[in-house]
């Protein structure tokens, strides 16, 4: 797969060189075709990173409740099941919900335009990775050995102190890894983002404006593309593959080191 990606991307890299990555122009007009991946790289990183930040408070507090406060109780089991259920919903369903519920809401809230854009896409991405991030960090938090926590209690610590000085520090690298993996998942998310981001092929000028991501531009334009444009899309695919590969590799490495 990597070989065919590299093979397909060669014409584009030949034509544009390194400029492919740093150029913000994407113009398919015949005669002066220029393709640069920057709008999509920027859009992908921006939406994924924003999604990560937005998802953090809710997923982190939920995982603390599941893995620490309500560990082993029925509340935790039901909530945990709900989280897993949410994680299993197909992307297109989130996309539809985003399109028909979230987008009108954005218009009503006065974010302007049609409600499409980076911010809307980030929101839907955040909602999509919350269950994933929650169940990852919940598992890690629940893994903190009981006898460590008991040792802290036996020194007269309160529950909050145990969480602050034992549970979170012990689980920290695992939690970080969980969020890195969630970030990796957001990077490659396609359907829901395509439906909400606005799909404009330029470097986004504002967080609330429209944009595009690497996965979305491929999905949108692949069908009709040929020649240099096709090669450029494949090159974007290769870049996305590399970025997600690195991100996931780092995440998995940290988790492996922990256990």
């Amino acid at each position: 797969m990597v070989f065919s990606l590299v093979g397909g991307a060669i014409p584009s890299f030949k034509a544009f060189g390194l400029k492919f990555i740093v150029s913000g122009d994407w113009d398919p007009t015949e005669g002066r075709e220029v393709y640069g991946a920057l709008p999509f790289i920027a859009g992908t990183l921006l939406t994924s990173f924003a999604a990560l930040l937005i998802s953090l408070p809710l997923s982190f507090s939920t995982s603390l409740f599941l893995g620490e406060y309500y560990k082993g109780t029925r509340v935790a089991r039901i909530l945990g099941m709900l989280v897993d259920l949410l994680a299993g919903i197909p992307s297109i369903v989130y996309g539809l919900w985003g399109f028909y519920v979230l987008r009108p809401l954005m218009i009503d809230l006065g974010f302007g335009g049609q409600g499409f854009g980076i911010f809307t896409a980030s929101l839907i991405l955040a909602i999509m990775i919350i269950p994933y991030a929650t169940s990852l960090s919940n598992e890690i938090i629940a893994m903190v050995p009981n006898d460590l926590k008991e040792a802290a209690y036996s020194l007269g610590a309160t529950r909050l102190e145990v969480i602050q000085t034992v549970t979170i520090p012990t689980a920290r690298s695992g939690i970080v890894a969980g969020y890195i993996l969630s970030f990796g998942r957001a990077l490659g998310e396609t359907m829901a983002v395509t439906m909400l981001i606005g799909n404009t092929n330029r470097v986004p000028d504002s967080f609330f404006g429209t944009g595009n991501t690497m996965a979305s531009v491929i999905a949108n334009q692949f069908g009709e593309a040929d020649g240099l444009k096709l090669s450029s899309l494949i090159a974007i695919g290769l870049l996305l593959f590399l970025i997600t590969g690195i991100v996931n590799g780092v995440g998995k490495l940290i988790i492996k080191k922990m256990t």
Partner: protein
């Protein structure tokens, strides 16, 4: 039941009709006993007889778990421990666990003063240094670690880790130290170091020691408590119990018939 309260004046701890149940299954039944000050008191008995359950009731560890109920009283300076704040109680009752469990994210130094830190006591650097040195000297670990105080405690050998955990329990200046098979994870040399230490520590502390190991009880304890199926079968001076057990079950256990 048998006459289990040996004649003890000014006991360090008076346990009165203490019963403990897991989900209504009693694991400790009506235990009444006085623990003498500045002694090592061993709790012996076959596996599953309730030794750990009894010990963990004394610093109210069971209250961390919803399915455990405790009935009866335990008097410390004439005050029922179940009417005290757990924080105040646990500062007077240090606990050492079966498996050495230094906090993995903290240095040796921070492990020793963890009790102060956890309770939000801010100390001057000089006070901290003093407490750390005194506590580590108490457990005969100072010379071995004085040059690596800021390394992680988890780098130490098992025996050193266990002595570090004892230092952590001593740092707060408790009156009583509860120990649940503190040497069962250690090799013979580390075990004998910890045993020597306990004999030395009883000058200043009262030690309650759960042990599986009869020869350990014979070597270092002054009083012994023999439990069977949740009941306290026999209690008295260790010497007397080993040479002249009163109850046939004690005799059977000591001669290796069960357990």
């Amino acid at each position: 039941m048998t006459q289990t309260i040996a004649e003890i004046k000014n006991p360090a701890l008076s346990i009165r009709d203490l019963s403990i149940a897991y989900d209504k299954n009693y694991a400790v039944k009506n235990v009444t006993v006085d623990i003498k000050k500045n002694t090592v008191t061993a709790i012996m008995g076959p596996s599953g007889c309730g030794k750990s359950t009894l010990l963990r009731a004394l610093n109210r560890m069971h209250e961390l778990y919803e399915n455990i109920t405790t009935e009866g009283k335990v008097l410390l300076h004439e005050e029922n421990i179940y009417d005290m704040s757990t924080i105040k109680l646990r500062r007077q009752m240090g606990m050492v666990f079966q498996r050495p469990n230094p906090f993995p994210t903290m240095s040796i130094f921070d492990n020793v003063i963890a009790g102060y830190k956890l309770n939000g006591n801010s100390l001057k650097k000089k006070e901290k240094d003093e407490i750390v040195e005194r506590s580590l000297r108490d457990v005969a670990l100072w010379d071995e670690v004085k040059d690596s105080l800021h390394k992680k405690g988890t780098f130490l050998s098992g025996g050193q880790q266990q002595r570090l955990c004892i230092a952590r329990a001593l740092a707060f200046g408790p009156e009583i130290i509860l120990m649940d098979e503190p040497t069962s994870a250690l090799d013979p040399i580390a075990t004998s170091k910890v045993e020597d230490l306990l004999v030395k520590l009883k000058e200043h502390y009262t030690i309650i020691l759960v042990t599986h190991n009869m020869s350990q009880a014979a070597r270092i304890s002054d009083y012994s408590l023999f439990m069977y199926l949740g009941e306290l079968v026999e209690y008295g001076k260790t010497k007397n119990m080993f040479t002249n057990p009163k109850d046939p079950r004690t005799e059977q256990y000591l001669t290796g018939k069960f357990g």
